[in-house]
């Protein structure tokens, strides 16, 4: 397995903040909001609708990242993967802060720890990772 970049599958991400809080370098940031979950079966027959988080922005600062992979290990929803796609050289440090559109481009070379290939951009969320 080649560890050249970290790929994100945005529709799998539930903005649970686990990767952000575990990252020792504080290089991941998430902007998200919550809204009523219309697809939830409890939505119509409950006084308090169940809420779900919607991801607005997910960034990894590869200038700070030390490739420890803790975020990949900790993600319970199968949204972060090691990828064999290399990060291209950038003109300034600010350009190394990659957002979800750029992180999605790493998915074609991404694989899971068990060797299976990661979901691609238009694939549905794979749900909670099986242990």
């Amino acid at each position: 397995m080649e560890h050249k970049s970290i790929a994100l599958h945005p529709s799998s991400c539930t903005s649970c903040m686990l990767c952000v809080r575990e990252c020792p370098d504080w290089c991941i940031s998430i902007e998200a909001h919550s809204e009523p979950d219309l697809e939830s079966p409890e939505y119509s027959n409950s006084r308090r609708p169940s809420m779900k988080n919607v991801l607005d922005k997910f960034t990894i600062n590869f200038g700070d990242c030390m490739w420890c992979g803790i975020c990949v290990e900790v993600c319970p929803f199968d949204a972060l993967f090691w990828s064999s796609t290399e990060i291209e050289p950038k003109p300034t440090a600010e350009h190394l802060i990659l957002d979800q559109t750029q992180l999605t481009k790493f998915l074609p070379g991404a694989i899971r720890n068990d060797g299976t290939s990661a979901p691609q951009e238009n694939d549905p969320p794979s749900g909670r990772r099986k242990k």
Partner: protein, 147 residues
């Protein structure tokens, strides 16, 4: 090879290693385990680099100097003194290894990282603002550090 020894045998072990042919002193460093407990390491090797010994021991805050046995330890002991605040007894120049105005012992666990104080922790964000939770704090950062 790794040798774990008692702190009182620190000099004696190195003297024996030198006479056993471990003539190269490679490095000396430490790790701050808890408040007053350090692990200190030194690595010595043979002249042809074919074999090495890593000596480690637990100390409280001071240990005997090795410079009578290995003169090369002088700088490493000064550096360890600056980084951890460990005192090496009978060291002729127990001062900072690097001339700087920067105070403190940056590799001690109780040393506050300036960048962590100046940066906002990204993990403080709560996607669901209405959810009442105890605000989460960054792991490994002392509560009094955040101003």
């Amino acid at each position: 090879m790794i040798q774990e020894i008692a702190a009182s045998q620190w000099q004696e072990t190195h003297r024996n290693l030198l006479s056993a042919g471990y003539v190269r002193f490679e490095f000396l460093t430490a790790a701050h385990l808890t408040e007053n407990n350090f692990e200190i390491y030194s690595r010595v090797s043979t002249a042809d680099l074919a074999d090495f010994v890593l000596v480690k021991t637990n100390i409280s805050d001071s240990v005997e100097t090795l410079i009578e046995i290995y003169p090369a330890a002088k700088f490493h002991e000064q550096e360890t003194h600056q980084m951890f605040g460990i005192t090496f007894e009978n060291h002729p120049r127990m001062e900072k290894a690097f001339e700087t105005d920067f105070g403190g012992n940056p590799l001690r666990r109780d040393f506050a990282l300036i960048t962590r104080q100046a940066t906002n922790w990204p993990g403080a964000v709560e996607p669901d603002e209405k959810a009442k939770r105890r605000p989460s704090l960054p792991p490994g950062v002392h509560e009094s550090w955040s101003s």
